[in-house]
């Protein structure tokens, strides 16, 4: 294959859209081809520029209002169903149910807000750590997609051994790891790439925090935490919240699999 034909595949590689086999062959080719490496870098750079400089347009409020009015018009024209005779009882039970639901909801909201506040500093600290690492040069201290390289490197520097797995075939490629500090403790940090997003995953032996299952967004970064049987997992990234949540829960679930 010549490099001209490869240009399309290098693009798909940068987008994380290749199957494992072609992904591997492109990665290998990039190691030895300066031309395609330049193409790869310029695709990533272009993506970063577009994300940073080209804003997404937002529907004007007037359009929102018009579309809502359209939906309401459809609702109004929908044939009204005849009310059943025991309508009154349905309204009454409905009211009681709604009351109960509202109380439970208020209680849950209260506790959640309290839990959030307790974890606020925690999420901010995680984002700060992540940003500091991405700005400087120390994002990755041990570069390897091989968990048998990353795991011993981390264990040798900590008093625990974090589980390490590569999910490249699912789009989450392990780039490596580093040692970082979170809440005054050294913490094992795994670095993954998902499409163009870098994901920092802090892995610690289970800590005594109340569970922070809720997603937090700090300065545009999403912070998600999940607890596994042996470890506590905290991920920070600018990747989509849903994607990040699913990934962290996956990591926590497979905590003891190795």
């Amino acid at each position: 294959m010549n490099c001209r034909q490869l240009e399309t595949l290098v693009g798909a590689y940068a987008d994380g859209e290749l199957d494992a086999l072609r992904n591997y062959s492109i990665r290998k080719h990039l190691l030895s081809c300066a031309g395609c490496t330049t193409t790869h870098h310029s695709i990533l750079a272009l993506h970063t520029r577009i994300r940073a400089e080209v804003p997404k347009s937002v529907a004007p409020p007037a359009l929102h209002a018009r579309v809502r009015a359209m939906a309401d018009a459809v609702r109004a024209s929908a044939p009204a169903r005849a009310r059943p005779r025991d309508d009154r009882w349905r309204w009454l039970t409905g009211g009681v149910l709604a009351g109960c639901t509202a109380s439970v909801f208020a209680w849950m909201l209260g506790t959640t807000v309290l839990a959030w506040r307790a974890h606020d500093d925690f999420a901010v600290a995680a984002v700060t750590t992540h940003v500091r690492a991405t700005l400087g040069d120390h994002l990755i201290e041990v570069t390897s997609s091989d968990r048998h390289t990353v795991k011993p490197w981390l264990s040798a520097r900590l008093d625990y051994s974090p589980p390490v797995q590569d999910f490249a075939n699912e789009g989450f490629a392990l780039l490596g790891g580093r040692l970082d500090y979170l809440e005054r403790h050294a913490v094992a940090t795994l670095v993954y790439r998902y499409r163009q997003h870098t994901i920092d995953v802090f892995v610690r032996p289970e800590v005594s925090h109340a569970p922070m299952s809720a997603l937090r967004t700090v300065r545009g970064f999403n912070v998600v935490r999940a607890s596994g049987p042996t470890m506590d997992w905290l991920a920070v990234s600018d990747a989509e919240p849903a994607v990040l949540s699913a990934f962290v829960q996956r990591l926590a679930r497979e905590d003891v699999s190795q």
């Binding site: 987008d15 859209e17 695709i43 400089e53 080209v54 997404k56 359009l63 809502r68 359209m70 939906a71």
Partner: protein, 171 residues
């Protein structure tokens, strides 16, 4: 679930994405509103047929169809002349040096102009990928083309952008 409820719950959350796509396809704010409104009418009518798939992909497919129909009526030769309405560029308030901030927005405007100048077939896949962050599979469904074509059109779009004098960074 009644159709209007389904529409409100499944489709309305994607109104911004719909408008963004229409905005980049028509390159005109007023036309974009017309296209989105037409798309919403269709979505309201057919929302009953929306099954397990992603509502966003479904809705964006409708937006794209609405755009092409609108195009046939209004710009049959795709003689789409830019109305000069620049995409609103937010000036970064955190920028300390006002001159720097100006420079940055000027470059950004150039990049946005270069994207707007792309031929339609390349522009739509680029927007769906880079701004809406859809997968190749979703783009293939929306644009009704094979995944291989998504790949080659994206490569072409990026190549054109990189060679465009408009998009070149001035640093």
């Amino acid at each position: 679930m009644a159709d209007h409820t389904r529409f409100e719950q499944l489709v309305l959350p994607h109104l911004d994405a719909a408008y963004n796509l229409a905005r980049w396809l028509t390159r005109n704010v007023n036309d974009a509103e017309d296209v989105v409104q037409d798309a919403c009418l269709r979505a309201l009518k057919y929302v009953g047929s929306l099954n397990d798939g992603s509502p966003r992909t479904w809705f964006l497919t409708i937006v794209r169809h609405a755009f092409y129909d609108w195009c046939k009526r209004n710009r049959p030769m795709e003689i789409v002349r830019d109305d000069g309405t620049a995409i609103e560029m937010a000036v970064d308030p955190a920028a300390v040096d006002p001159e720097q901030a100006f420079l940055r927005t000027a470059e950004s405007k150039a990049l946005a102009d270069a994207i707007a100048a792309l031929p339609l077939a390349y522009r739509e896949v680029l927007i769906l990928r880079e701004l809406e962050e859809l997968s190749y599979k979703e783009i293939a469904r929306i644009a009704d083309i094979p995944i291989g074509t998504v790949m080659s059109r994206l490569a072409r779009a990026r190549g054109l952008l990189q060679r465009s004098p408009l998009s070149r960074a001035t640093n």
